[in-house]
């Protein structure tokens, strides 16, 4: 066990004194330096009076208001001073200061509307959120809702603090009302949306989402909420199809991944009209081609369906009867990934074949140990010496060995042909 970690030992159980040995031990590791030799006396760190000021404020803030061990006379004095401090102020700045200093104070003397507004403004000016909230609560408790809302509505800081409080305490309805009243409708809609998506019950969530969708006015957001609704519907309706995976409330890509595991017709995707066809999902949710390719590639590779991977990137054009290779992810990343997922050489080679630059192809091929591609790249580069070296590194009489040998011959013959041509032109 790590000595640093004695706190975590007993989990929900308590930490007892039996652990004390370890605590002694860990002081060696400089964990608790309460009284290390290097420290200096408290008095040298902080002035005694200053420290007392902090300590007093701390206690003010606690509930025990009357200090212990006072004589009756002292106690009367103390209480009299407290009463004075508590009630006799109607200078807003002074009151806000008291809140900052944790001095108990009452806001009850702020009766008139003007006084209340001045107090709120002073709180906002101070920038102390605690004071702002305290004043807001005082206004809320002493004013009728319409007036209260009118006062805070004209003060952005006040609104932010109050809305945040309502959000934290899950009073979403009230927060929504205020935002709507302030004509911040999109925010109100988003707030409702955020509250709804917390729900664990998918069917309930779906129903509620349909209701909130109307609250949005921004077309982009309406679309996104609609996508969410569509996705949940798909996940709920097709949950039997996706079994044993539970896709409910997963993201589009996660659902797409599971859909790929269930899909049989990667070579002829258009033949399936099922809504769980990954290609249909891609269309429906406007999934970026690169995102889809990456998900399908990972899934098919993990399922070791290598042929599907190749057909994934072959687009048949109807005009020409030729297949074209289209990909939206950098080939380099694809090849490294395939290698990592233990793709066979043939698959790697077929992807490496699409790397145009022979130098890049060579480096990549070496990285993933794709022999044919190494040879091909060297052939294009006409690097006979490297080819021969490479041949030597291969076990003789294997298919790879012969492949390399053939490549060397092809270069040599090409070279001699070239030389022949040169010579002939020379003689002419």
């Amino acid at each position: 066990m790590d000595q640093d970690d004695y706190w975590n030992v007993s989990h929900s159980k308590s930490f007892c004194f039996d652990d004390l040995d370890e605590i002694e031990e860990q002081t060696d590791d400089n964990i608790s330096e309460i009284s290390t030799q290097s420290s200096i006396s408290l008095g040298a760190i902080i002035n005694e009076n200053d420290l007392q000021v902090i300590l007093d404020e701390e206690i003010h803030n606690s509930d025990s208001v009357i200090p212990k061990g006072l004589t009756l006379e002292e106690e009367v004095k103390f209480l009299r001073r407290k009463i004075n401090e508590f009630y006799l102020t109607n200078h807003p700045e002074a009151t806000i200061n008291k809140i900052l200093l944790n001095n108990a104070c009452s806001l009850e003397c702020y009766k008139s509307l003007i006084e209340k507004e001045e107090l709120l403004d002073a709180a906002i000016r101070s920038g102390n959120g605690d004071a702002i909230l305290k004043v807001i609560f005082h206004l809320k408790n002493t004013l009728k809702p319409a007036i209260f809302l009118k006062i805070i509505a004209s003060r952005l800081e006040a609104v932010e603090h109050y809305i945040n409080y309502l959000k934290t305490t899950m009073k979403i309805g009230e927060a929504t009302d205020i935002l709507t009243m302030l004509d911040r409708r999109e925010e109100a809609a988003l707030l409702q949306f955020s509250a709804i998506v917390q729900s664990k019950n998918a069917i309930q969530k779906l129903e509620n989402l349909k209701k909130t969708q109307e609250l949005f006015t921004n077309p982009f957001l309406i679309n996104q909420v609609q996508s969410y609704i569509n996705l949940l519907e798909l996940q709920i309706n097709e949950r039997m199809h996706f079994q044993p995976s539970d896709v409910i409330d997963t993201s589009v890509l996660e659902t797409l991944y599971v859909a790929c595991t269930k899909f049989q017709k990667f070579s002829e995707p258009t033949q399936s009209t099922s809504i769980t066809n990954p290609f249909k999902i891609v269309e429906k949710f406007n999934v970026a081609p690169a995102q889809f390719e990456w998900i399908a590639l990972n899934e098919r590779a993990k399922s070791q369906a290598w042929r599907d991977i190749e057909s994934l990137f072959e687009k048949k054009s109807s005009m020409l009867k030729k297949k074209t290779f289209t990909i939206h992810i950098p080939l380099e990343i694809v090849i490294l990934k395939l290698h990592q997922l233990r793709a066979p050489q043939a698959v790697l080679n077929s992807f490496l074949h699409h790397v145009e630059d022979p130098d890049r192809r060579l480096t990549l091929a070496k990285k993933v140990g794709a022999i044919h591609s190494i040879v091909d790249a060297l052939t294009i580069l006409k690097d006979k010496r490297s080819l021969e070296e490479f041949k030597e590194s291969l076990p003789s009489m294997t298919a790879e060995y012969f492949y390399t040998e053939k490549a060397i011959t092809s270069i040599t013959s090409a070279k001699s042909l070239l030389n022949l041509g040169k010579n002939s032109s020379f003689t002419n």
Binding site: D2, D4, W7, K13, S14, C16, D19, L20, D29, S32, E33, I34, S38, I40, L42, A44, I45, I46, N47, D50, L51, I54, L55, E58, I59, N61, S62, D63, L100, S126, G127, N128, G129, D130, F137, N164, Y165, T168, E186, F193, T217, N218, Q224, V225, S227, L231, S251, V252, L253, E254, N286, A290, Q291, E293, W294, I295, N298, E299, I329, Q340
Partner: protein, 619 residues
Amino acid sequence: MDVVIEKKLSGYKQIALEKLDNILLTIFGRKDLIIEPEIIRILDSFANMAWLKSKGFDKIFKLSSTLPPKTKTLVYMIFANLVTFKHVLDQISLLKSSSLLENDGIKDFHIIVVPSLFFVFRNLVESEGFAGIVNLHSFSWDFLKIDRNLLILEFPSTFQQIYIQKDKSLLSSIAKSLRVFTMVHKRPNMILTCGQNSEKVVEMLMQLKKPTNNDNPDFNAMIVIDRNVDYPSCLLTPVTYSGLMLELFDMKAGILNIEGENKISNGKLDILKEESKQLENHEDIKTLRMCGTSDELYTANKYKHFAEVVNIIKAESKSLEQEKRKYSRDMNLDQMKNFVEQNLPRVAAQKKVLYKHLIICEKIVQEMSLNFEKLQNVEEMILRYENRKQIISFIDESMSTNAHNLNVLRVMALIHIFNGYSGDEIHRLVQNYLNAFGHKNIHIFHNLFKAKLFPNILKPSSTNLIKIASNLTKKTPFMTDAIKFKLIPIIENEILDKKKPTARKKCPSYVFNGNYIPYIAQVAQVLLQAQNFHDISPKLSTFDVKILCNDESNLKSLNDTQNVKLFPLKPKTMFIFVIGGITYAEVAACKIIESLTGATIVVASDEVTNGMNLIKSVS
């Protein structure tokens, strides 16, 4: 650094203990402590078991959903979070109803709220009917010194509360901790603020009671800045060792947690996760202490370029291996005995630390190396405002092949800050993100907007093509300011520079591979090098800087400030506080300024953060 200052910096824990003691004195009898898990490490850094025992605590429990046994007074210690607070009240309510019958009466309940007991907490206690039953306390440990020149408050989710939820309650807690700072070190002769929250904090600081004695302050100048003044220092990928550690692991109170799944793999979709090589049995490797005293390897390398550090760590492990071998071969019995008794423990301890670093380095390489260079290039393009097409295609690519729920947003935010977006791009990127990570995340983009890290997606997008086009060719306001304030080093002699890391070490942009100078480092440099007030005012006027000198009590803008006779700053001592989290890159950059100017700079913040943590607090 002056020895006295250094000792004082270590003294905050004594003040914290005194404050806690002061509260515990009011809670009589035997008691159990129930503590929020996040607080454990922090409390541990200044109060140990023995101390707590001496204060009458018998047992300590982690706050969880299971109820603690109620046999004596219960003291809860939690962060100021209303939801946690409500959870505690619910527990107390349950305990009260169950223990009423079994026990001979209800013992006290206390809740210590860190760092401040705000009004809403008292309000909740009252409205839930707990007034008089539950005793409330407010406690702040103020600064934790987690490295030689680094103080941290460890207030949680400060960035989220202040910049996204716009709840400014914590500003008063920060002001109070800064007040303790001014009591310990006296009030600096000059206080400079940058940003609205900083202004408010300093204004509150001025309202709080002044320290009794204010002669000879330890720090000549103090800078308080808002995190949102300089987002790039968070969003850019650091190249320093300590910076990269936080890319993978979380740190609390100076202790890095290297156990479990790292932050990079954690943010990826489960379906696309690689079966990561499980490193062999690391059962005893759980944490690394990120501070100077116990780990020389860390101290020497924390601010160095990672590429350099990897080699050092490798060399170190070789030499340690050799040392071990050398000793174990040709030794007679006495030597052997001596070795076992003296050297072995030392070597073993060294080996353990080294082993931790090896694991961390390996993890960093494993998770980041594939993409690191590409990311660095893209970040440079964003800063240089070039190759927009490549930048966007990088985002598209990472959205598919390297989708990390936080890091994708991080680069997107960086683009927003420096380059801006067209309406179409925003919609496409948001849609791709939602498809990958779930539509429930729409609110993230609104939160990013609130923090000024993304355009407003709630607004109907502008269909005016001319406007879009002109937006794209125009530099963003931040870009303009950054150029003006020379945060982006000029490319001249770049090739030369990049080849000579020693030359780059002399520029604070070293921490971002020569691409960007953290704002705080630049401000510190301007102040430390200024000969007179006129040297600073034109330079600092780019950002909304305010200043407060000597005995004045109000912040003034630079234009309204009379000639300040504080320059050149002597002694060159400076304290910098960032509201909303500081990064190790910034700390490292300040270290470079220290060595360039011969100054002492102590930096502080509510937490040590990085781009991922920043984005995480948005979601």
